[in-house]
Amino acid sequence: MAAFLGWLSTLSPWLEIPIIIGVFLIAVAVLLFFIEIAPRAGRAYTIARLAACVIFPLAVMWILQSYWWAIAAAGVLGLLFFWLDQRARGGVGSLFQLFGFLAPALILLLVGLVLPVVQTLVQSMFNSRGDTFIGLDNFVWIFTQPQGIRTVVNTIVWVLIAPVVSTVIGLIYAYFIDKTRGEKVYKILVFLPMAISFVGASIIWRFMYTARPVDAEQIGFVNQIIVWLGGSPVPFLQVQPWNTLALIVVFIWIYTGFAMVVLSAAIKGVPTEQMEAAELDGANAYERFMNVVVPGIRPSLVVVLTTIAIASMKIFDIVRTMTAGANNTSVLANEMYQQFRSFEPGRSAAYAVILFILVLPLVIYNARQLKAQREVR
């Protein structure tokens, strides 16, 4: 495979795209063909199945150019699998079909996600060369460094501010945009940043924040407004601790559109009878909003809040592009990358583990909410 990939990389990128996709589609077609003929009875099909059971694993191992013993093991596994498939409870070929559908994705997940996560957990307890077990020293190191504590605090600031502000703006906007003409256009305009990469957005906002000396003409729009209002330009990305807020603004700018779209869809689902009933009872617009709409879309609110909270906890691109963590703006994901770059895999892994631990409760809560909703339905 290394040879194939090596050959592929000598081609023009425009050729590489169709070739790799084509090769992949052919592989899937072959797989589907074997899945289709798997349950058929008859000697020819049995032989085809036997061949597939053995040749597939052998071929995979050979393509990966693994070692000879691995290739041999794959062959033995294939034979074992063939034997199991012959006596499977679902009938001959049922196991074959099952593996055909599930194995490609599940093996990739196992090798590329599950095992690496375990390995990262282990690695976080080893020193930077990866040969000595040092227990929780990496974590101790993080929490005794002023920079490390700052990083954790910054991440928490992100999670406290970003989701709430973007959800609130998104919610208000979603609520009154219903009553406007040309709803769609305004929605697209607010939603647009969602399509822009964080890197693109960071450049856009770095430009917005640009500060020039007091006597010079401003080229950053935000500082120009400050000057127009009679203030003096502020170097937003350097003033601590407010520079973190300047970064959060970029994030909010992007995620408000997301909140608005999801919540707007939810608000449209609030039944009119409830609104009319509230109106008859003499509730004003604000009361109707707080007492009918907000409770009505509570599940969506939770999903939006937690989704944005998870995203803000993992925030990396904005910090990396705008300040690279300078002036005390670093966050966990950025520090994790920083340690990785300075060849400290142990500390890097420890940062990843902290991130994981912080994200975990939020995700579990989110998943439970979704599950609860499904059950109601």
């Binding site: 559908f101 399509a195 003409e217 990396f316 691109d317």
Partner: protein, 319 residues
């Protein structure tokens, strides 16, 4: 499309005990009363949200000196338009790779990295939805649970796997040489995209009426044919929305690119991030560069917005 309206539909279900039937909703009532104040407020917020992007678009067409000395909002007074910034930006190279090359790289990374995980996920989703086997639910929950893992957790081991072919110190594959091209990024994005894709597509594929599949089975179709002839065509809407989602996600990604795409295969986001670090004050290059980088997702977004919103509503549980 059922899965994608799930958030909406579930919200409805939670708020009312009555089910089914065409109920009048808030949306219908509101459309009758448009208020001028709301319109004004909407315009103001939409303007605030658009000004930053607009500013960078205007700036990218202004001569270098003008950008450095005057604000883009004075562009009408300080007349002067040029496309030179784009020409210069496309040829600016960082570490031997030009922005134009990186732009092409972004395509070469994004297209396979959007298509491959989708097809693998559709296969697995079909297996989970329409094949009976022991431990199916447990396995599916485990796959769902993988979404909670921040991808940072997998970086270092995965890189070791690519570079040395080892997992836990055991040789698994032959190490990728330096010439492996885009393969590392393709594989990484494929793996990271799989859990969400399997989950969403499963929700959709499981809702295909059982009678349709039963009928095909009676006609003698095996799993292979059912998948190819029935499930695949029927789930095209779901696949399309997720494809757009994954396309934008991969195109806009920086973190995976920083770690897995080195040297000549770096995508435009990585090159731009480096340019910010090295030439942070060259606004004529950065504005043009940023616009080149966002033009593709913007076009995809504007033309396929409907599908994107669907994917978003379905995927809003993404962790």
């Amino acid at each position: 499309m059922a899965t994608t309206e799930e958030v909406v539909a579930t919200t409805q279900a939670v708020t009312t005990t009555a089910k089914g039937g065409a109920r009048p909703t808030l949306g219908d009532a509101k459309r009758r009363l448009t208020s001028p104040w709301a319109t004004i407020a909407a315009i103001i917020i939409a303007a605030i949200w658009t000004i930053p992007t607009f500013g960078i678009l205007v700036s990218s067409f202004r001569p270098r000196v003008e950008i450095q000395t005057t604000g883009w909002w004075t562009a009408l007074q300080n007349w002067g338009w040029t496309t030179e910034n784009y020409a210069e930006a496309l040829n600016t190279s960082t570490g031997g790779l030009s922005l134009l090359g990186a732009f092409v790289n972004s395509f070469a990374i994004t297209l396979p990295a959007a298509i491959i995980p989708l097809i693998l996920a559709t296969l697995a989703a079909y297996g989970f939805a329409w094949m009976e086997f022991r431990g199916r639910n447990l396995l599916f929950v485990l796959v769902f649970a993988l979404q909670i893992v921040p991808i940072q957790m997998a970086f270092i081991p995965l890189l070791q796997l690519f570079a040395r072919g080892e997992l836990f110190g055991f040789p698994i594959i032959q190490a990728f040489s330096d010439q492996a091209g885009y393969a590392q990024v393709w594989i990484a994005h494929t793996i990271f995209g799989l859990p969400l894709a399997i989950f969403l597509l499963h929700n959709f594929i499981a809702q295909i009426p059982g009678e349709v599949i039963e009928a095909a089975r009676v006609d003698g179709a095996g799993h292979g044919q059912i998948f190819f002839r029935i499930v695949l065509p029927l789930s095209m809407p779901a696949i399309a929305s997720f494809a757009i989602f994954q396309f934008l996600w991969v195109w806009n990604d920086l973190l995976v690119a920083l770690i897995f795409a080195d040297g000549n295969v770096a995508p435009i986001t990585k090159l731009l991030a480096q340019m910010v670090g090295q030439r942070g004050e060259d606004w004529h290059l950065l504005t043009a560069g940023a616009f080149i980088a966002i033009i593709v997702p913007l076009l995809v977004f504007l033309f396929l917005q409907r599908y994107f919103v669907r994917g978003l509503l379905a995927g809003s549980a993404k962790g």
